[in-house]
């Protein structure tokens, strides 16, 4: 076996809906080493959240079907576990931070109750002790008056505070891996900065994080390695510096160009033309080809595979090795 903490191989997930059958995740491979922060970046509907939810088998089935692939966590294939075994992994070894804390927390239970429940589910400790541990975690995530907040309902807290509770809950059992699915999308930029600072401090280089986001800025701030996803496929993968300094896939290059930046606020934005295609009718061949300015005949006939460009830097584009050395417009 290898030393990867999480190793997803050739995962394909499809959905059978009233509108038709489609693949939301198509042959995605992804791995995380211990202590690593890996970013999975993409637009809505590209399959990044489906990938994340598959890891803990949190997708409703039907309509979702995991067609193919393996998800190894510490050498064990999670997809083969039954629900009882999975429950021991969820929260304990792998925990999740969701986008909307208000809908992820129970509206009917006080914060304290929810934290205690999580602890007692995995550890055989008396309620009193669980209560004290929970309170100390609220303190660690810098919630003012933790003793009092234990009695608060989620709706009584602000969005930033709710997300802190989620972080406390996710970290309380000291998991090996945290999957953070757009953890700050619902928050303001200043709160976002504080939450990320908190996550960085709390994990102390030990916990691995799979960070799912649509925001290249967040990736830049947080991640060691990046995977770019577009229309159900990984289109580019590499170290942070490689992705930002030498992006090779036209989509990554377009995305980096289209982000408004404070540093050059007077230029016109370079937009990617067209719309994100619907998963029900992706174009043949390369999914990005009808928005791509470099597309040629071969792109319509064959689907490009991810191939190695450089140490750990991969891209799924026929002309990636030409593009990588061309400067993309804005740096």
């Amino acid at each position: 076996m290898n030393s990867f903490l999480l190793d997803i191989r050739n995962l394909t997930v499809s959905f059978n809906t009233d509108d038709g059958f489609f693949q939301a995740v198509d042959d995605v491979s992804l791995h995380l080493e211990r202590g690593e922060i890996v970013g999975l970046v993409g637009e809505s509907g590209c399959g990044k959240s489906v990938t994340a939810l598959s890891i803990l088998k949190l997708l409703p089935s039907p309509p979702a079907v995991i067609e193919k692939g393996e998800i190894f966590f510490k050498g064990q294939n999670l997809l083969n576990l039954d629900s009882g075994q999975l429950r021991k992994v969820r929260g304990r070894a792998i925990s999740m931070i969701f986008q909307e804390p208000l809908s992820a927390l129970s509206p009917l239970q006080r914060i304290g109750q929810q934290l205690v429940e999580t602890l007692q589910l995995h550890e055989n400790i008396p309620k009193k002790e669980a209560w004290d541990i929970s309170k100390s975690w609220l303190e660690k995530v810098k919630i003012p008056d933790p003793a009092e907040r234990m009695y608060a309902y989620p709706f009584q807290l602000s969005g930033g505070m709710q997300q802190r509770v989620m972080i406390a809950m996710a970290m309380m059992l000291e998991p090996d891996l945290i999957i953070a699915d757009e953890p700050t999308t619902a928050l303001d930029v200043t709160i976002q900065a504080r939450i990320f600072k908190l996550i960085r401090e709390m994990r102390q280089e030990k916990t691995s994080i799979l960070l799912i986001t649509h925001d290249m800025g967040v990736i830049w701030e947080m991640c060691d390695r990046v995977l770019v996803m577009y229309a159900s496929k990984i289109v580019e993968e590499g170290g942070k510096d490689a992705i930002f300094e030498q992006p090779a896939h036209p989509y990554t290059r377009g995305l980096l160009n289209s982000i408004p930046r404070l540093s050059d606020h007077l230029g016109r934005l370079i937009a990617i033309p067209g719309q994100v295609p619907s998963p029900l009718n992706y174009p043949s061949g390369c999914h990005f080809r009808d928005r791509c300015m470099h597309a040629f005949d071969r792109c319509a006939q064959e689907q490009p595979d991810l191939f190695d460009l450089d140490d750990g830097h991969k891209a799924a584009c026929f002309i990636a090795s030409n593009l990588i050395n061309k400067e993309y417009i804005r740096q």
Binding site: D188, V189, A193, L262, H265, L269, A271, R291
Partner: protein, 274 residues
């Protein structure tokens, strides 16, 4: 920016307050106020874009809504081309409704799901009796203006993607040839790769029709691209305003500095605070 009479103020807002009363007890007596907008002054010139930035709850949306008459102001002045928006009667208000338009954040909920695009974009034209020729002609022209397929005018909002829906909203907003458009977070709900298209479209339309925008957003980097001037709002007050470049490069107010420091910018390593 391309206007000939750039120096004329189209909108002058002076010490505007929008306070919401807090009522308690069986007599519903007013016991206090939520001061959503608390003494705000600014002006917008013809053809100019003023960016309004701030975090959620700072009052920026309430300010925009007050200018449109969707919220009642508590006190202050908002002079639009000579008329005080806050002291108009019903008929005067109606006349101004044509000249001041709004684009909302959520492109789907701001379009009537039971109307097709043709009716949505021409509803205002019919109501204001500005119809020249057929509705179809108007609609086709508007679709071209916002970069949509003119053949799609009989389709319904749910058949479009988020970016296209926002284009329909923009088409409706410009259909009455307004002078001033309040853009309330117009790209926040859109995909990253589509945001740039919509921002560019808004810029093109501004230059083509000599429009003025109040561009409201929580995202300073988006605002910095479209706005000539920026006003930073915090807790109901404008803490800093000035030319975009000055505000971003040499922010004076600590809150502005905090806001700028918090924006993650790819390519620039932020100094870690700890």
């Amino acid at each position: 920016m391309t206007s000939q009479n750039v120096n004329k103020n189209l909108l002058e807002v002076e010490d505007l307050k929008t306070w919401f009363p807090i009522r308690r007890g069986i007599l519903a007596r007013t016991v206090g106020y939520v001061k959503a907008v608390d003494g705000v002054s600014f002006c917008v010139k013809k053809g100019e874009t003023l960016g309004l930035v701030g975090e959620s709850g700072c009052g920026k949306t309430t300010l925009g809504r007050t200018l449109l008459g969707l919220e009642r102001a508590y006190s202050g002045k908002a002079v639009f081309d000579g008329d005080d928006l806050l002291s108009l009667n019903r008929f005067q208000t109606r006349a101004l409704r044509r000249r001041i338009q709004i684009i909302f954040q959520d492109p789907l909920s701001s379009l009537n799901p039971r109307m097709n695009v043709l009716d949505i974009v021409t509803e205002g034209i019919v109501a204001f009796k500005m119809l020249e020729g057929t509705k179809e002609e108007h609609a086709v022209q508007l679709m071209r203006d916002v970069g949509l397929d003119a053949g799609a005018i009989y389709r319904y909002p749910h058949e479009f993607s988020g970016g296209q829906r926002q284009r329909i909203n923009i088409a409706r907003a410009v259909s009455l040839k307004p002078d001033f458009i309040v853009c309330d977070e117009p790209v926040s709900a859109l995909d990253v790769s589509v945001q740039a298209q919509v921002i560019n479209l808004l810029e093109d339309l501004r230059d083509k029709y000599n429009l003025s925008y109040l561009f409201i957003s929580h995202d300073l980097s988006v605002v910095s691209h479209i706005a000539d001037r920026v006003a930073v709002m915090n807790r109901g007050r404008i803490v800093e305003q000035g030319a975009t470049r000055n505000v971003i490069e040499t922010p004076q107010d600590p809150y502005t500095r905090k806001l700028i420091a918090a924006v993650p910018v790819p390519g620039i390593r932020m100094q870690k605070t700890s």
